[in-house]
């Protein structure tokens, strides 16, 4: 058994995502009570040496008993930690994190450095992530290495053998997915891009680096894209398309002019412009165009990180393409099953035609005639034929039948509505865009079925939290959104309770939502927290909607790059968390992607690719919850 260092024990105690061997996971349950200390620990690696050491020592003194080590044990570990990151905390592989660039690369290098810093997970959090991943994926990695070797060698026999020898379901799923990728490609260009890695040797024995590979590949892709765009532009554009194109070009030209204007003395302004330009291109899936533009400027220093950004984009799009192809395959399979069922049914009908009184005769309407005839005979035999034959009663009978049918129809509709799994709540909350004056927010929320309890003050404003809740609810429940209807307010009340300082939340099936540190981490985080927790309430109150999500996104295909979807409750992804994150990201994706300690790492800090790279999730939220409303 591996003996844990004091630092590891402290780290495992304070980080709920940790699963370092030998540490009691129940610690995670107590984390909510000491959110500030946990935050301080996770951010310690970003601080200067002295400050970092002071933080670790303070936390060790405070928690060493609970974490299970002697206070004195931390000394040497901290000295080592602050001088030189210990090997067990080092990152061995960071595909999504570009390398640090020298500062003399000018404005572009400066920008990319900035991006790198923003995407850089703090060291403690990253180390925890690695420990978790190592524990959980050791077996998978061994398999994947063998499998990737077989893929590289094109050894299909080996691939099949590996699949047959799979030891667990999870491995089997991964193997099948990889087999699909390898054996039945949707887009060879995308796959080639997604696989570019390491070094290769050309015919003359010269080593070709990763950058060389990427440069050639991206240049080819840029030319292809340019040609494709040219063809698209040759066709007649509609006025709306022309207008949109002109606006886009003007926007990009404005950003590019700022980025390249050496007369602007503020480098941050130029960096921001270049960053915005890059995001514009990425959002339009035109990343190669940037590469092509800067290719001639001999900016080798930026090729690696930029290439990695682009490669990440390609990998994501490739995965989405594969998923879409699998979806098509599923639909084809389903159709095939339906056809088989139809053929079987036809054969049964044919078989029954030869038998007297069988299904064939039913289809010909004979049974109907027989039933009518039998019914009449029965009526006559019972002496009730007069009811149909006596003219004075015909009108009364017809009126009576119509009235009874109407009554029965009403009863049936009421019964179905009462027992429908989706419930019968059609009431809508009526919220104005904002509440004025602010001291009425609480009452207006209550009128719409949402009670707010606890400390309502935020940043000196005594009603700040109530106003933030109101504004967020007003935003997401505005017509044509179905969010309020699905939530069931005002008929099914919700109680929001504000407590604590760490930015956490919890939803209960009884309608109680606890929000800790609401607003303390910024408006976007607060909005996401609130909508995420209310989305749990929607799942509680609309089981059919959750089942639809499960049908569309089985656990093996949950890929949303958010903390709650990927890591919460331990190893994720868990469908209910991904459901809540899908609905939570929808209104805020342009400004916030839910991460904790830099996890999960992804090529962008915000989530602007939600609408493109994760379109099925975006569309689910848009169509099923937000009624087509866009933000």
């Amino acid at each position: 058994m591996v003996e844990l260092t004091a630092l590891q024990k402290l780290s495992a105690f304070l980080d709920p995502s940790s699963s370092v061997a030998g540490v009691d996971q129940q610690n995670a349950a107590r984390i909510g009570e000491r959110g500030a200390d946990r935050e301080a620990f996770l951010r310690a690696a970003e601080k200067p040496e002295d400050e970092r050491k002071a933080i670790i020592n303070r936390l060790a003194a405070k928690y060493h008993k609970e974490a299970g080590f002697e206070e004195t044990e931390i000394g040497n570990a901290v000295d080592e930690f602050v001088r030189n990151i210990p090997s067990e905390f080092e990152t061995t592989e960071q595909p999504e994190t570009p390398q640090q660039l020298p500062q003399d690369q000018g404005v572009i290098g400066s920008l990319l450095n900035k991006l790198t810093e923003r995407n850089e997970p703090n060291i403690a959090g990253r180390a925890k992530g690695q420990a978790t991943d190592a524990v959980h994926s050791l077996q998978e990695q061994q398999f994947l290495e063998e499998f990737n070797d077989a893929l590289e060698q094109g050894d299909q026999t080996k691939i099949v053998e590996l699949i047959k020898n799979a030891e667990t379901h999870k491995l089997l799923d991964q193997q099948l997915q990889l087999a699909h990728q390898h054996l039945d490609l949707l887009n060879p260009d995308e796959l080639r891009l997604a696989r570019l890695d390491g070094t290769t040797t050309d015919k003359e024995g010269k080593t070709i680096t990763k950058v060389d590979n990427m440069r050639d590949e991206f240049t080819t892709q840029a030319l292809k894209q340019a040609e494709k765009r040219k063809k698209q532009e040759e066709r007649e554009l509609t006025p709306a398309e022309k207008d949109a194109k002109a606006k886009q070009e003007a926007k990009e030209a404005r950003l590019q002019a700022i980025a390249m204007d050496t007369n602007i003395k503020d480098p941050n302004r130029r960096s921001a412009a270049f960053h915005a330009l890059l995001q514009e291109r990425l959002a339009q899936t035109r990343p190669y165009s940037i590469f092509a533009e800067y290719y001639d400027q001999d900016l080798d220093g930026m090729l690696v990180p930029l290439s990695q950004l682009i490669q990440n984009q390609a990998q994501v799009r490739h995965r989405m393409a594969l998923r879409q192809r699998q979806g098509v395959q599923q639909a084809v399979n389903q159709q095939s099953n339906l056809q088989n069922a139809a053929i079987n049914a036809v054969q049964k009908i044919k078989g029954s035609k030869s038998r007297k009184g069988g299904l064939g005769s039913l289809l010909k309407g004979q049974l109907k005639k027989q039933l009518l005839s039998k019914f009449k005979k029965e009526l006559i035999r019972k002496g009730l034929a007069w009811a149909f034959l006596s003219p004075p009663f015909v009108g009364e009978i017809v009126v009576g039948i119509i009235l009874l049918i109407i009554i029965i129809a009403v009863i049936v509709i009421i019964l179905f509505t009462l027992f429908s799994p989706q419930g019968s709540q059609e009431q809508q909350p009526s919220l104005q865009p904002t509440c004025t004056p602010e001291n009425t927010c609480e009452q207006q929320l209550r009128d719409n079925g949402v009670s707010v309890r606890g400390d309502l003050s935020l940043n000196g404003d005594p009603y700040g939290k109530a106003k933030l809740v109101y504004d967020t609810l007003a935003l997401i429940t505005q017509s044509p959104s179905k969010f309020g209807t699905l939530l069931g307010i005002p008929a099914k009340p919700i109680t929001l309770y504000f407590s604590g300082s760490a930015c956490t939340g919890h939803a209960s099936a009884n309608g109680l939502v606890i929000l800790s540190g609401f607003g303390a981490c910024g408006t976007s985080v607060a909005r996401f927290m609130l909508i995420h927790e209310l989305s749990h309430e929607i799942a509680f109150r609309n089981p059919g909607l959750y089942n639809s999500f499960l049908n569309q996104f089985p656990r093996s295909s949950l890929t949303l790059p958010t903390y709650n979807c990927q890591f919460d409750y331990g190893v994720g992804p868990y469908p209910a968390e991904c459901f809540a994150d899908t609905l939570g990201e929808y209104p805020v994706y342009k400004t916030y992607r839910n991460i904790v300690g830099g996890r999960p790492s992804y090529f962008e800090h915000v989530f602007s690719s939600f609408i493109t790279s994760f379109n099925p999730f975006y569309t689910f939220a848009k169509n099923n919850v937000y009624g087509g409303l866009e933000f």
Partner: protein, 216 residues
């Protein structure tokens, strides 16, 4: 005259009442026909193979796991082998496809005898509500599935009936149905609960909170 009037009114009432009863009977039988017992064949239906399973599923004896013929009929008549079987603990698990790929019905088999059948419910239903209505005296207890924490779904186990529902109790809506040999609560917790990693405590209890700490 008076007698004639009485006869006339009585006839009208009699006719209208008769018509009402006929229409009501027809309507109710149409509405609730899904809940009525159906006549079953003597032998259970045989699942249709589409792949090369490790086990000869057609020889599996299902008699222990199903509480009645109707449940067996409903589950087994739809079974088609989705992919190869796998091994979990001592069980060979045979997946059977549903109308949704990747959501598969599972048969846990040992020694050619089905030990558990897990049926996915991919469409709207009120299965738990229907079961409760038809088994008013049945004893049940609740267990939790960490996979679906935060969804409102938990397991309602009826050990003496050999059936459990992963369901939202407020709506009687089921995601999955688990069939197993009739047993006691204690025995279920010692055996099936471990196989399916079911928990006695709610993982979504209030002391476990989701985190959102980073501000962009």
């Amino acid at each position: 005259m008076c007698m004639e009037g009485w006869n006339f009114n009585m006839k009208k009432v009699f006719v209208l009442t008769l018509i009402f009863l006929v229409i009501l009977t027809i309507t109710m039988s149409v509405v609730f026909r899904g809940n009525q017992p159906v006549s079953l064949p003597n032998a259970l239906p045989t699942p249709t193979p589409v792949g090369p399973p490790h086990v000869d599923f057609s020889k599996i004896n299902y008699s222990k796991v199903f509480p009645d013929q109707q449940a067996a009929q409903e589950v087994l008549s739809t079974l088609q082998v989705a992919s190869e079987s796998s091994q979990i603990d001592d069980y060979t698990v045979v997946p059977f496809q549903t109308d949704i790929d990747q959501r598969q019905n599972l048969v846990y088999e040992k020694n050619n005898t089905a030990q558990y059948v897990v049926q996915e419910k991919t469409s709207d239903n009120t299965d738990l509500m229907v079961f409760l209505a038809s088994h008013p005296g049945s004893q049940s207890f609740q267990m939790f599935d960490s996979i679906h924490a935060g969804s409102g779904f938990s397991w309602y186990i009826f050990p003496q009936d050999g059936v459990g529902f992963l369901a939202n109790k407020d709506f009687g809506y089921a995601l999955k149905v688990l069939y197993f040999p009739k047993t006691t609560k204690e025995n279920f917790i010692q055996t099936a609960a471990k196989t399916f990693q079911l928990l006695q405590d709610d993982p979504n209890s209030e002391n476990v909170q989701e985190s959102f700490p980073e501000n962009p």
